[in-house]
Symmetry: C2
Subunit: 216 residues, 2 copies
């Protein structure tokens, strides 16, 4: 287990925790306090860390995704659904406020106008409605159409992404779909922030320096 920890960069207590939680299969016992771990274990640990560190998934969500990857009956489309469920947001627990109900209806109509046929219970529908509600509660009374430019680029990226998933080997494809969803989402978010900095420097940094000079 010490060797597995060194190779994977995951600490021994964390590996023990994953074993207890059933995220990782036990190694083949080779002695009273020894077990043999193979490359499979290293790969599995890295997949778990990617889902947790990059995707922000909790233990329960990781287990759901790993179970789905291991289930040969699931289509890639189903698997993507499981990954998206794991990414959240979690199902409603409290009575849903009126403005959220309204926003969800508007998001549904917006997606229908786009011609996107998507399961009505997909969690990202709720996430999109939550974003609309957050804007409105802060006095920015946008219609759902404010998301149109985002839908356009999202559609462009997703079409490209789905084409690059290999469809020959299921093992490759399912992991590729999950990793792609989680890792490239993180990359997209990071790049948008970097691009904002670049454009804000052009527009606002000079103005700020000017303002500071006026204050002095």
């Amino acid at each position: 287990m010490a060797a597995l920890s060194t190779t994977s960069g995951v600490s021994v207590p964390t590996i023990k925790y994953y074993l207890r939680e059933g995220l990782l299969e036990p190694g083949t016992p080779t002695g009273p306090n020894q077990a043999d771990y193979r490359d499979d274990h290293v790969h599995r640990l890295r997949l778990i860390r990617a889902l947790m560190d990059v995707g922000g998934l909790g233990v329960g969500a990781v287990r759901a995704v790993l179970d789905a990857i291991a289930d040969p009956e699931l289509s890639l489309h189903d698997l993507l659904g499981v990954a998206h469920q794991a990414l959240g947001p979690p199902p409603d627990r409290e009575p849903v406020p009126d403005d959220v109900v309204r926003a969800r209806g508007e998001v549904d109509a917006f997606l229908e106008d786009l011609g996107w046929e998507i399961d009505g219970s997909h969690p990202a529908r709720r996430a999109l409605a939550d974003a609309l509600v957050a804007l409105r509660r802060l006095g920015r009374d946008h219609p759902a159409q404010v998301f149109e430019p985002y839908a356009e680029v999202a559609d462009h990226l997703a079409a490209r992404e789905l084409q690059t998933i290999p469809s020959e080997s299921r093992g490759e494809a399912v992991e590729g779909a999950v990793v792609g969803t989680v890792v490239f989402e993180a990359a997209l978010v990071a790049l948008r922030r970097l691009a904002q900095v670049r454009h804000s420097a052009a527009r606002f940094a000079a103005a700020g320096d000017e303002r500071r000079r006026q204050f002095q």
Copy 2:
């Protein structure tokens, strides 16, 4: 405070917690156990909730962003920097593994090739390198250029976003910049997942049904 809780949809214990943490100013006392809260408080509470619920910020990060919004000396560009710091990832705590160091160098070169002039310590640089490392550790040995299509759309969106921030009133502009970063990021992520579902349905759902039939 009960009225503030009803209007804002934030529970009384949570409001008390924000008061203790200094995220919210105390109301004007009107009696031994009474205080007057104004519209400012409702708005502030909604801003805090948007940063926490939609942006996933913790209390410390919210405080940093609110302080930055309140600081008239900060340019909008500086403010965006504070918001991005708050969004993470947090600074390195452990020795940085070799593959991460290497990926950071490649990300820096990639951004330079794009012609994006961005502060070398911006946290999203580290996030992008982490994404590259996660791919490689899972056996997907991509160069940083794999992010090129994402950089392209991110740049397109950011240019658009920075243009729509009003520059006349600082109060409006600073909040708009922060809210826009956080809320539209959540919307973009949600829309990418929805678009993936739509395209995966076209490509994989039928194949899965086929496979299931073969198994029966």
